[in-house]
Symmetry: D2
Subunit: 350 residues, 4 copies
C-alpha cells in the first residue's frame, strides 16, 4: 500500500481548492480505513471553496475537504469489532462524541461536541479516509457507489420530511438544490396529497418535475403565495420544507403555511431573519422545527428503508466526474446547472 | 316524488334479508334526504344476514340494512344550512351525538351515544335515506359512485394505517377482506418499506398482490412467523395491522411484531383472546391500539387526500350488481370469492 | 326583568371606556342568557381601552367590552337543549363557527371564522350576556365566581404549558402578567424540574415566587442568558413559555433554550421580530409552536382537571372591584401593580 | 484491598440464598470497580430466592444476586475515561450491547442482547461489583445511599408514568408493590387530576395514601370497576398503570379504562392472559403499551429531574437492614409488610 494519496484540500485561508498528494491518514485504535469509491459535493463544499465568512470562521486550513462518500474497508484498528476489510460502507459525517447528554439520550444529531469531516477535520475528497468505528454505516452492495454516497445528504432530507409527517398532506418545498429535490422525491414516495416545488432556476424545477413534483413555481414568474393557496383549496400548504436558507423563501413559505401547519427549517440562512410572529406563527397555531443532520442511526435506517420502498434518486445524479475535474464540478454548481455531482477519486467506472 | 321505495330489510329475528317496498323516510329538521346512487357490502352486513349472536343482540328488526353508500341530495330540512338539492355526498355511518365528552374533544369516533345506520337505525340499502346534516360528507364529483361509496370503509383502513405510521416501515396486514386490502394499498401509497399480506384465501392474496403487496402468505401453506422474520432481517414487522378478528391471526401477528413495534386491532374478534402479555407486549415494548370507525372529520379529509395522492382502489371492486341480486352478492362473500361488491338500488349504469 | 342593564362600553373610536345603561341583549334561538356574576380584565382589554393600532383595526365601536366571565343562566332559546335556568357557567370567548375545516377536525381554536366577544361582538363587562349554546361551559359550583371567571385566561396558559410537556423539565417563563403567572403555577403543579420566571416588574416577580417559581430574574438587574444556563447545568431551559410579546424577551428566551428544546409563543408581538434562525432554531434542533386560545373543549377539561389536581390560583387574584371602579382597575394594570383584577357587575359580595 | 468479599448468592438450583465469602470480581478494560454502599430488594429477587419456573429458566447458579445498588468508585480499567476513584454512582442493571439496532436507535431498553446483573451475571448484593463504564450513572452526592439505590426501580415507574402522560388525568395504579407506590408518587408530582391505588394488602394501600393517593381500593372489600367509574364522572380512568402482573387486576384495569384511554403494562404476568379485545380495546379505541426497564439514559435524566422537582420517596423506604439479615427482609416481602427494603453490605450507618 502506497503511503501517499490524492486529496482535494483547502491549502490555506482564501478561495479555491487544490488537488495534492499527501500522506494517507494514520489508523487509530478505533479507526476504520476506507478506500473512497465515490464522493458527492454539497453546498457546504461550495462555501468552503469560496471561503465566505462562515467558512473562514469554521474551517482550519490546511484540510482535506468533502464529507459525502462511500467506500470499501481496507483495514481496521485493534479496537474495532464490527467491521473488517472488504466491507462496503458509508459514514455519518458529523463525528459525535457519544458521551454528552444529547448523545446519551438518542439525539446524537445535536451532539454538544461534534466535529464534521471536511469542515473541522480531514474529509473524504481523497483516496482514503479513516473514520471512527462508531460513525461507519454498513451499506448493502446492491446500491451502486453513486447512490451509496448520497445516503448522507439524502438522510438530511429524510430527517426533514419524516419530522413533518408528509403522508396525505399538501407539501411545499422551498429551494430545489439537491436536499430540496430529495425532499420532493421522499414526499411523493410517502404519499403526499401534492408536492409543490419552488426555485428560481428552471433547471432545478425541471428536475423536481422528474422526481414527481405535482406543481413547480418560480417566484420570479408568478405570485407564489396566492398560487399556493389556489392549489390547496385556499388553505395553504399543510407542510412547508424550507431547504434554501433564503430570506424571501422563508417569508413566502411562512405565508403559504396553513393553519395548524408544520414548517421545517433546514436551509441555513446567513443572516438574521425578520418574521411576522403574530400573523405567521401565533394566529396560525403553526409548529416549526429546526432540523440538523441525521438522527444517528434512526435516520440512516429510515433512509435505507425508503430506498427499499422504491425511492428513485437517479434523476438527481446529473454529473459523474473524476476528482481531477473538481473545477468543472464547482462551476456547474455555481451556475445551478446540475443536480448532484459525483466525484470519483479512484478508478471507479464512470 | 313517489311515497314508496325499494329497500333491503331484515324483516324480523332470524337469518336472511328481504327486498321490499316501504315508505320513503320522513325528512327531519336537520335532515338531508339523499337518493342513493351506490352502496357497498361490509362484513357487518353478512353478520346481520346470518343473524349471529352479535347481530341478534344489536339489531332491532324490522330494519333497513346497509351503511356504506353515496348519493345525491334531493331536499333538506329547514335547519340545514350547508347542503342543498343536487349535492353529491357520502356519509359518516356512525351517527354521533356531538354532545358527549368524546364528541366535544375531537374524538367523535368513540362517541358515547353513537347509533350506526343499518344496525341501530334504518340504513342505506334502499332508494333513499335521510341523514342528519352533521353526518353528511360532500364528495368531489370526479369520484364515480362505486368509489364514492367506498370512502366509508376505506376510511376505517386509513384510520388504522395512519395511526400506525407506515412510511418506511415493514408492514404486515393480517386478513385480506376489503379493509385489509385497503390497508395494503394505503401502506404502499404511503411508502412502506415492504407490505406483507396474510390470508387463507388465495383469491384474496391475489387481490393483495394487485394492490401492491410485496409478499403474500397463506398460513395454511407456510409457517408464518419464521417467514415474516426472514422477510425483515430477523427483526419482525415494525407494524402489524390486524384486519381479521381471527384468534390465530392475532397470535401470529403478535409474534411477528418487532421490538418496539406498533400493533393495531381493527378486526373484531367474536370471543375473548388469550395473549402472551409478557412475551409479546412487555418484553417487546410493543404499542397496541384499538381502532374503531373513522375520526370525524379528520379521517374523511385524510381519505380524500390519499385518493388525490393516487391511491388506486379499482382492483378491489370485483362485482357490481343491482340491489335485486343481493343473494348472489352474499353468496360470493361467503365463498371469499370477491373483493368489494357494489349494489345499485337504482338505475345507475353498471 | 328590567329591560336595561349596566355595561362597560367603548362608545366610539378613541381612548377610554364608559359605563352606561343599555338594553339587555336579545335572546336568540340557540342563545343562553347569562347573568354575569364576575368578570376579569385581560391585557386585550387594556389595548381596547387605549385604542392602539391593533384595537383601532379590530374593534367596531360602539361595543360592550370584556371576554372573561362567569355567571348564572337566566333563560335559554328554544333550540337550546343542554342548559337551563339556574346553571352555573363560563364560556369560550372565541365564538367558533363549527363548520370550517379547523372546527370539524378538532381544532376549533384556529377556526377560520371566529368572532371574539368584547372585540368583534358585544362582550361580558355587563349585567347580562347572551352566548350561543355551543360556547357555554358548565362550571362546578365549588369554584367561586372569582375563580370561575379565570377559567378562560387560565385555559390559555394550560394550552401553552401542555403543548410543551413541562413535567421533569427546566421551564423558563418570559413575562409574568397573569397568563405568565398562570403558566408558572401550572408548570409547578405538573412537576417541572424547575421554573424560572422573568419580568422587569418586581411586583410580578414576587407573585411568581408566591405561585411556586424556583427562581425569578429581572433582566434589568442581571444578565439573563448566562444566569439561566447557570441554573440548568449549562444546558439552557428545556422549555420556554413566551408570555410577553416583547422582542427582547423573545431574543433572550430563544438564546436560553436548550438543544432540542421546546419554545412556545403566546404573547403577541406588535411588530415583526428578527430571529437568528441558524443559531437559535436550526443548530439547536429547536421545536417552536404558536399557541392561540384554548382547544375547544379539550383545554377546558384539562383546566378543570388541573384545578381538581390542586392548582392554586388565589395569589393571582390581587384586586376585587365593582364594575363602577373600572378606572382604578385599568390604572393598576398600567402600573403593573396587580395580578388579576376581578370586576363585579352586580351585587356579588367582595 | 482484601481479595475476598461478602456476597449473597444463589449457590445452585433450588430455593434459598446463601451469604458467602467469594473473590472480588476482576477488573476489565472497560470496567468500573464499585464499593457497594446500599442495595435494595426487587420482586425479581424474591422469584430468584423462591426458584420458581421463571428463575429456574433464566438464572445460571452459582450467581451473586441483586441488581439495585449505589456505591463509590474504587478503581477503573484502562479504557475508562469518564469515571475515577471517589465518584458516587449507581448503574443501569440491564447491560445493553450498544451495537444492536435497538441500542443504535435510542431504544437500549429493548436491546436484543441484554444481560441483567443478578440474573444473568453476577449482581450487586455484595461488597463490590464491576460494571462496564457504559452502564454507570453519576449520582449527585445530595442523594443519600438509600435513595440513590432506588434510582433503578424508580426509573421503571418513571418510564411507565411518562409513557402515559399523567398530568391532569385520572390515573389508576393496579398493584402497590414498590414500583406501584413509586408510580403513585410520580403521578401526584406530575399533576394527575386524581390517583386511585389498588391492592389487596391494607399495609400497601396505607403507604399509597402516604405517597399522595387520593383514593385507595382493595378489590377484596369493594367492587372495583363501578367504584372507579363513580370516582371519574362515570368515564373510567384516563390512564391505567398495571404494576401487578395479576390476571384479575389486568381484567379489572382494562374494564376501568376510559374511552380513548392509555393502559400501560409493567407487571409481568406468569401466564397467558385472556382479554376481551372487542370490548376493552377496540370499542374503546384504547392505547396499550408494554414497558420494560428504563430508557437509557433518557429515563435516568427524567428520574433525576423528578427528584429535583420534589418527588419524595421517603415513605417507601420502610426497612434498613445489614446484608446479613437478608432472611428477615425476604420474610417481610413475602408477607407484604413492607415498602422498599434497603440492604447494606458494608459499614453504612443505618
Amino acid at each position: 500500500m502506497s503511503s501517499n494519496m490524492k486529496a482535494l484540500v483547502k491549502p490555506g485561508p482564501g478561495p479555491g481548492l487544490r488537488l495534492i498528494e499527501k500522506p494517507i491518514p494514520e489508523l487509530t485504535d478505533d479507526g476504520v480505513r476506507i478506500k473512497v469509491l465515490a464522493t458527492s459535493i454539497c453546498g457546504t463544499d461550495l462555501h468552503i471553496y469560496n471561503w465566505d465568512t462562515w467558512a473562514a470562521s469554521k474551517v482550519k486550513a490546511p484540510l482535506t475537504v468533502g464529507h459525502e462518500f462511500c467506500g470499501e474497508v481496507l483495514e481496521v484498528g485493534p479496537g474495532v469489532s464490527r467491521f473488517q476489510a472488504g466491507d462496503y460502507v458509508a459514514a455519518e459525517s458529523h463525528i459525535f462524541c457519544d458521551h454528552c447528554r444529547s448523545c446519551r439520550t438518542g439525539q446524537r444529531h445535536i451532539c454538544e461536541n461534534e466535529k464534521i469531516i471536511g469542515v473541522q477535520r480531514d474529509g473524504a475528497f481523497a483516496e482514503q479516509i479513516v473514520m471512527p468505528e462508531r460513525c461507519v454505516w454498513r451499506t448493502p452492495t446492491r446500491l451502486p457507489p453513486e447512490i451509496a454516497t448520497l445516503q448522507e445528504p439524502l438522510g438530511n432530507s429524510v430527517h426533514v420530511a419524516l419530522a413533518a409527517e408528509v403522508s396525505r398532506r399538501h407539501v411545499l418545498v422551498t429551494g430545489c438544490g439537491p436536499t430540496g429535490l430529495f425532499a420532493v422525491a421522499i414526499a411523493k414516495t410517502c404519499g403526499a396529497a401534492s408536492v409543490t416545488a419552488v426555485d428560481i432556476q428552471d433547471y432545478r424545477l425541471s428536475l423536481a418535475t422528474q422526481l414527481g413534483a405535482d406543481h413547480t413555481i418560480s417566484p420570479l414568474k408568478c405570485d407564489l403565495v396566492p398560487r399556493v393557496h389556489e392549489l390547496t383549496d385556499g388553505r395553504g400548504a399543510d407542510v412547508v420544507l424550507e431547504m434554501s436558507g433564503n430570506e424571501q423563501a422563508i417569508e413566502d413559505g411562512l405565508r403559504c403555511l396553513s393553519r395548524g401547519g408544520d414548517y421545517r427549517f433546514f436551509g441555513v440562512p446567513s443572516e438574521r431573519i425578520s418574521i411576522d410572529v403574530a400573523r405567521d406563527i401565533i394566529f396560525k397555531g403553526a409548529r416549526l422545527q429546526g432540523i440538523l443532520g441525521r438522527k444517528v442511526w434512526d435516520t440512516w435506517h429510515d433512509t435505507a428503508r425508503l430506498l427499499e420502498a422504491g425511492l428513485d434518486l437517479s434523476p438527481i445524479v446529473t454529473h459523474k466526474l473524476p476528482l481531477e475535474e473538481f473545477e468543472t464540478a464547482f462551476d456547474l454548481i455555481r451556475q445551478g446547472k446540475c443536480g448532484k455531482i459525483i466525484l470519483y477519486p479512484g478508478e471507479c467506472a464512470l
